[in-house]
Amino acid sequence: MNSLIIIREKHYSWLRGLGSADHPAMVTICNKPILEYMVDFIVLVGGKKIRLVFEEPDGSVEAYFGNGERWGVEIEYGNAQADDTIARVVEKNSSFGEQAPLIVIDGLLFIHYDKNARYEINPEGPGTGFLYNSESGSISYSTADAAERSTLVEFTPNLQISTPRKIVNLFRITMQVLREEQHRYVIPGYGADKGVILGRNVEIGKEVKIHGPVVVGSNVRLLGSAVIGPNVVIGNNVIVDDGAEVRESLVMADTYIGRRLYISAKMVAGSKVVSVSNNASIEVSDEFLLSPLKRSLPINIVRYLFNVCGAFLLALLQLIPFCIFFTLGWLKGDLRFNKSRFLLSSDGQTKIFRTPSGFRTGAIDRIIRSLSLDRFALLKEVFAGKLQLVGNRLIPDTAEGREFVKDFSGYSPGIFNYTEADRLDPGAAESEIAERFYSANRGFLTESKSLMKALMNNLLYNT
């Protein structure tokens, strides 16, 4: 089965300006874009291909859904015009309509599906018709060889469908999902406590109290003695400062909630506050109280933790082989280490490290190198915060090295380096490009990959 989801301005424009600058279809319910619920539903009823048809296309939607791999469907994109009928849209997207049964969702609908249920459409013979039809949108179907219009058919089991048209509706739906339907959807994050779902990289202060049900997004800091919940959704990249209390409210992404603020029955997006009870809204221009946040977080602490965890794991793995082979190597006289001074940063800090000599001396030495045991003694530098686990190639403290590092502000050496990860020649131009490129584009994923590559290279090319 294929599906077209038609996204028209008239159904979505009221959501503009709520939270981020992304397309309104990316506004979230429990930190999941509304549009993604629709995609999920199509996947659940057996959709193989989905085309998102926009009146006003938007890069943010494409950036999020890509080719649909993450959802196990093929997602494509198309255009339609404001006054196109459903039939016209189907005609324009003919590669979707002809060979397979088609479901068309037109409008902004929240389908209260249950991921564990099975939904079936039961048309009597071939035809086209509506499964749902209202002013805010419709779901229609046509079977592969549709000719006759048949009567309205229904999904079994029956579905509740909400049609949000005001911020208050969005709030109610979110509360319904949060309180009663959490188990029906895949909500981003992991279940921490009863009714509490936390995203990635959430920092929770010691005295913070969380009363479920609560859904917290990624990159969130709940500080000091903040009180969160019950019935709260906090979006991605939010800081709730010390002593603030948030209850029965939605905090959209990229928001700072100031110290000791009290948020009850509100929707907060950046500096905008909407009262859910009477739909009144205010713009708070005092940045100490509420303010939109730029997407940046204390990445250094997180990086340090990432490094320390990695180094700790590696140390555990290497401890026993290290003891065995170093003793053997020492007895056999195979070990050759040089002590020399290396540059630690672009502002000229240095430290002496022992690194293996350039000559390969024997079997034991080869084993030590292939298991990367020669780095074992350096692991402690990661704990001390002097070296990264994966970083730039250590540059010796020579006149030339100092000159090189001086105009390389991102220089941050690691026990393992990018040059060896990509098996580049340390003197070559490619190595310099790679070193500079990666240090400007640090990310946990790339670094984990580089580490794996470096370990594998050592293993494969030293034996």
């Binding site: 009290y262 205010i282 221009s285 109280l289």
Partner: protein, 112 residues
């Protein structure tokens, strides 16, 4: 912003008009300080305040503490929706008594 004071036997009525932000909170603070020396029962008419920032709120709370320590009070008259919401967010709404008109606020003082 305009700040007007009228005093009678029961209380001083301060009417604010405009945006209570920028340099005006400190002006209001001075005015309230002077007023408190004569009469610690104060009514602030907020019905024409279009905007208030956290410094403004801070001044109101500071003055309230002083007034209470002198057995007086500061009572507010019909803050706008915007101001009311900000007071709620900052929990300031819990410490002020709010009335819908100057008469009612005056009456509340004369009753006790």
């Amino acid at each position: 912003m305009e700040i007007n004071c009228v005093s009678n036997d029961t209380a001083a009525i301060i009417t604010l008009c405009g945006r209570l932000a920028g340099r005006y909170p400190s002006i209001l603070k001075k005015k309230l300080g002077e007023q408190l020396r004569h009469n610690s029962r104060i009514i602030i008419d907020m019905s024409q305040v279009s905007f208030i920032d956290s410094t403004g709120l801070g001044v109101l709370v500071g003055a309230l503490k002083k007034a209470i320590s002198r057995e007086g009070d500061i009572r507010l008259v019909s803050p706008t929706e915007e101001v009311r919401m900000l007071m709620e967010l900052t929990r300031v709404d819990r410490v002020f008594l709010v009335y819908s008109s100057q008469q009612l606020a005056l009456k509340s003082y004369s009753e006790n």
